[in-house]
């Protein structure tokens, strides 16, 4: 099967960050030698827990913080020393920071007025933005008279009104409740794609990063642990931390026994693993075998074969509606999670607390983590 090239359009780099470091109060390294490039039209997510430096990096892009070391280029121009009000970058703030004394209309027009745009042009642009976020009827309201979702859309319209080269989103959906978040996520992506603006977004929510971004950088203690497309980062994490941070994962500690070009086998305390791809390692090396809960199948009958199964006692069942997560306690004492789809209305596995269940998975379900 011939594989088509992933992207046949050569996109130029819009944003280039070169070796940026930020040290606060001479001691705390918030961002540690980070380099990245973002292509025009991309939605790039900085994902990490609190204090990982993602917000500091975003604030450096906006111009609110100056890097201690390193340079930032936008469309080839060095913007490292430009103050925020001179950068062609706009930001949608966490919890929006809408000006409370101005109406929706005035909030959106605020940046345009600073640019000295003629009045009729401003009106035209504001109307367009209001239509884009479907808030035309609310133009004369003050921010406090709007719901959270409406405020979020005003904030988006305000940050898009100046047609920035780069749009920064700081926890764009953090202030919304879960149900609203799901619909808003797609709405937001649709609007961003319609406008065609390049985006850098910061979030601690891996689901938000995965649904919205074309690429994700997983940050930890100021540096990038892994950068890649959402499916890459999820299916092929390069370290235990990334595997653990993105989604749920079971990690078996083991030692490589066979190291072949097309497969490896790993012996762990719980079972033998047969991994259907080669890795850069050697036999005798200690590794982790990462296995996502949704890739595990459960059965009451003992599977045949020597590899990729283990037995355990059901110690916990968590019903989510669409799926159920079973916690199995293995003979070694390790508890693994297996997530089963509830694809019929009777609970198909018929398993309950205290039952012995066999967990099995295929050779392509696992990732071997060497670090």
């Amino acid at each position: 099967m011939a594989t088509a090239p992933k992207a046949n359009i050569v996109r130029e780099d819009l944003l280039r960050v070169e070796g940026v470091t930020k040290i606060f109060d001479g001691a705390v390294k918030a961002v540690d030698n980070v380099s990245l490039t973002v292509a025009t039209g991309e939605i790039f997510a900085l994902l990490g827990g609190s204090g990982c430096g993602k917000s500091t990096l975003l604030r450096m892009l906006a111009g609110f913080e100056t890097p201690t070391k390193g340079r930032i280029f936008l469309a080839g121009e060095d913007i490292t020393d430009l103050p925020p009000y001179k950068r062609p970058i706009n930001m949608m703030f966490q919890s929006y920071a809408l000006f409370p004394h101005l109406t929706v209309w005035e909030n959106i027009a605020f940046g345009l007025k600073r640019d000295g745009m003629p009045r009729d042009k401003i009106a035209e642009r504001v109307e367009k933005m209001l239509a884009l976020v479907q808030l035309t009827k609310f133009a004369q309201r003050k921010p406090h008279q709007l719901s959270g979702g409406q405020q979020q859309r005003v904030a988006l319209a305000r940050s898009l009104a100046k047609r920035p080269k780069l749009l920064l989103l700081d926890e764009p959906l953090g202030a919304l409740d879960k149900k609203l978040r799901e619909t808003t996520q797609l709405e937001l992506v649709n609007i961003i794609e319609e406008v065609g603006v390049t985006c850098v977004l910061v979030t601690h929510d891996q689901e938000e990063a995965m649904t919205m971004a074309s690429r994700i950088a997983v940050m930890h203690e100021g540096y990038f642990m892994q950068v890649g497309a959402p499916d890459e980062v999820y299916e092929m994490p390069n370290s235990r931390q990334v595997a653990d941070f993105i989604g749920n994962v079971n990690i078996f500690d083991g030692v490589i026994e066979e190291d072949e070009a097309d497969h490896v086998t790993v012996r762990s305390a719980e079972c033998m693993h047969y991994v259907g791809h080669g890795i850069s390692g050697h036999s005798g090396m200690s590794v982790g075998v990462a296995l996502r809960p949704e890739k595990i199948l459960l059965s009451k009958e003992k599977p045949t074969g020597d590899y990729n199964w283990c037995a355990g006692e059901v110690v916990e069942m968590v019903y989510f509606g669409a799926h159920t997560t079973y916690h199995l306690k293995l003979a070694s004492g390790k508890v693994i999670k297996a997530q089963e789809l509830n694809n019929t209305r009777d609970l198909s596995y018929g398993l309950t607390w205290g039952d012995t269940a066999y967990a099995h998975w295929n050779e392509h379900a696992m990732v071997v983590l060497t670090q």
Binding site: P84, Y85, I89, N90, M91, F93, A97, G111, R158
Partner: protein
């Protein structure tokens, strides 16, 4: 049936009065009634009566077993016709307005930098603002006298430096009056402004900068409008007492600096004309309350 319902209403009203919630809210109302409203009504009553040798006449006279109310508007008529009062009110309002504006101009940067200074030194700065209150008000005003008089500290220094040959006449002029007024009322402007500015969310300024606003412009477009409540509170706290100020014009002002507080004093204690003095006071209260009432109405409407 009707009687029962009335009785029920009364008993429920009584119960409401006694229950904790209403009691707690009721206390300040009661206080306000006793200490503000009743005295105000007494002043109003005196202003509508006449002076009978040393006594104030009663408003209600009994004739043939019937009470007749006798209102005397002579004092108000006199105020309305005599140009002196008109000029004095106008000049009081002008001095009070000037005091308010100058206080605002000085206090705003003061409060701004206090609110922006490191959190741990803010209590100290606040303390320094309130420090003058530890010394008697009269003493502080007298101190200004020794600074401003012809052979006072300021003139002596300027003359010894050879900057001036003859002393500058500062004392008993509108200048010395304004110095005293601004000096005395400045803390009342700083404190509400500081309280307001220290609560200002810095993200609004960041958002303004992000949208292309220079820091100077952002100050006028964001900081000032958002501190409107503080500006209004401070201005009220300065303007209202400044209109009726008596001590500062008496000690620092000249004979030509007309202020209504001094007229009030003269009516009470020199002319011993209580109805006149009360009428002057009532008109002053109306003059101050009218713009406030209009402002409140506008505020309520813009919120709705």
């Amino acid at each position: 049936m009707k009687n029962i319902s009335i009785r029920n209403n009364i008993s429920s009203a009584l119960r409401k009065l006694i229950d904790g919630r209403h009691f707690v809210i009721g206390v300040p109302y009661f206080w306000f009634l006793i200490l503000a409203l009743v005295p105000l009504l007494i002043v109003l009553k005196i202003s509508l009566s006449e002076m009978e040798s040393t006594e104030v006449s009663s408003l209600i006279e009994w004739a043939n077993g019937w009470p007749t109310v006798k209102l005397n508007f002579a004092s108000y008529m006199f105020i309305a016709t005599d140009a002196l009062y008109y000029q004095t009110y106008l000049s009081s309002l002008r001095y009070a307005l000037m005091t308010t504006v100058i206080c605002l101009i000085i206090a705003y940067p003061f409060a701004y930098f206090m609110a922006r200074s490191p959190k741990h030194i803010q209590p100290t700065l606040l303390m320094l603002i309130m420090l003058p209150f530890w010394t008697s008000f009269l003493l502080r005003i007298y101190a200004w006298k020794t600074l401003l008089v012809n052979n006072g500290v300021i003139n002596n220094i300027l003359m010894s430096l050879g900057l001036i040959q003859d002393p500058i006449a500062m004392m008993n002029t509108p200048f010395s009056l304004m110095v005293g007024m601004v000096y005395s009322y400045l803390p009342f402007m700083i404190l509400p402004l500081y309280a307001n500015l220290s609560k200002l969310d810095m993200r609004y300024l960041e958002a303004a900068a992000d949208l292309g606003t220079s820091p100077f412009k952002a100050f006028w477009l964001i900081t000032v409008p958002l501190s409107k409540a503080g500006i209004i509170a401070g201005s009220m706290l300065v303007f209202i007492p400044a209109v009726g100020e008596y001590v500062i014009p008496e000690l620092l002002g000249g004979s030509d600096t007309l202020m209504i507080g001094r007229v009030l004093w003269d009516e009470f204690f020199s002319n011993n004309d209580w109805p006149m003095a009360s009428a002057v006071a009532v008109v002053m209260i109306l003059l101050i309350m009218l713009p406030m009432a209009i402002y409140n109405k506008y505020q309520a409407e813009s919120k709705a």
